[in-house]
């Protein structure tokens, strides 16, 4: 992803309210080696509207703090099904003021 897109996303996320469940990410990569060695598309990195996913020299990493809980990464990882996706614990995560 180009830095400008990432910067645009960060500016947008800054507008939102979150109650982050520190140390308890609600989404996990099941097997990081699958992303690195078998998945060529790495579409999670491009399609996540919150820019939670990034890729550096082929290794995909995930930071869920800005997650909008849409489910995109869960559904588009349909070739390897490598996303362990849950909602945050009750009350945590995004708190929409307008929705």
């Amino acid at each position: 992803m180009t830095p400008t897109v990432q910067a645009q996303i960060e500016k947008k996320l800054y507008l939102n309210r979150y109650r982050v469940d520190a140390g308890r990410p609600h989404i996990r990569i099941k097997d990081a080696d699958v992303c690195a060695s078998r998945c060529e598309a790495q579409q999670c990195v491009v399609c996540c509207p919150a820019g939670c996913w990034s890729s550096e020299s082929g290794r995909v990493s995930l930071i869920t703090d800005g997650c909008l809980e849409c489910g995109t990464c869960r559904i588009i990882c349909d070739q390897f099904n490598n996303v362990d996706w849950d909602y945050p614990r009750g009350g945590f995560g995004i708190l929409y003021k307008f929705g």
Binding site: Q8, I76, D86, G90, G93
Partner: protein, 433 residues
Amino acid sequence: MSEKFDVIVVGAGPAGNAAAYTLARAGLSVLQIERGEYPGSKNVQGAILYADALERLIPDFRESAPLERHIVEQRMWVLDEESYIGGHYRSAEFARPPHNRYTIVRARFDKWFSDQVQKAGALLLCETTVKALLRDAQGKVIGVEVERDEGRIYADAVVLADGANSLVATRAGLREDIRAEHAALAVKEVIFLPREAIDARFNLTGQEGAVIEMVGGITHRMLGTGFLYTNKDSISIGIGCMLSDLKRQRLSPVELLEGMKAHPAIAPLIAGGEPREYAAHLIPEGGYDALPQLYGDGWMLVGDSAGFVNAMHREGSNLAMTTGQLAAETLIELFRDKQPATAANLARYRSRLDASFVMKDLKKYRRLPGTLERHRQFLADYPALLNQAAHTMIRVDGVDKRRKEKEILDAFRERRSLLGLLGDAFRLWRATR
């Protein structure tokens, strides 16, 4: 907690609220479980409220519901890179009460709706995520497990209104997971502007509102639409595309949104505004053929969790409310007759759905998602051709009109061929009849 209720409703969006409200009003004991801090905190919509569905539940909703503007003008735009061609429908009749459609801000509206549900007698449990369904030895759903200590809660029936991802139903094996080609990802911003600026830019007075629905170049040949809705002192602007397309095209949803906002026909409408929130949500747009099994022993699916969305007409929240109400009415009838919520008895929910506009509309457009998916020309070629045609015809440059007509026809024929044009007309007719 190890309590027993008549019905548990999972989720406090339009479908869950409609179901819980209807059930509680009939005197049933209802527990509604919501994962957000407050109802609405996880919910996202454009958002247009279609009055009819809510009116059937709460006839005097206009007296207390937080409504933004009633819509007097609907615009349909087909965009090319620098232009749009479209139709506007505005009527003074829409300005006279009772109004047919409103813009709303979901976080506020859902809170209000939930207040009505609680006043009707339902018990609401927020900040609680349902982990799993409880079943008896025969497999009948008999309650839910929540992420609290001793978090088993029992009920005679569970209504699942847990939204587009429907994790609860999927994990319980009640339905297949939604597929990328059946899910649209919509991203949206709420941009604040002074009320007077919105009035002036859209030719509105008082509580009047305008909406613009958009297709064409802004989606970069992907299956999708854009929207712009006027709230009281803000504008909701967003764009949605099918996940399968986003994956293929490798486009960031933020790029789409920013591209749309920069379009020369849209930029002036939001100029100087202050974005205050950025949201994303999935819309289940698979239509009739993607509907899962809608009920079974002790459970029912309503709203987005079942995929009740009419993508063609941009309707979803009304289908959510109506299906929530129909599910509730089915259960009320069973409780009244002291009948158990077995799959056989809950088949009446399906009959009610079939008799309503919900299934009739979904059936009418059942071929549409597939047609648009297979025949990209509708979203890729025609918007550009229509805009070029308008440009050619409207521009005065000394070329005679007959030659202009020929230029336009040639452009259509070159892009789609005569047979292609006829085929497209037939496909569109068949997909929407």
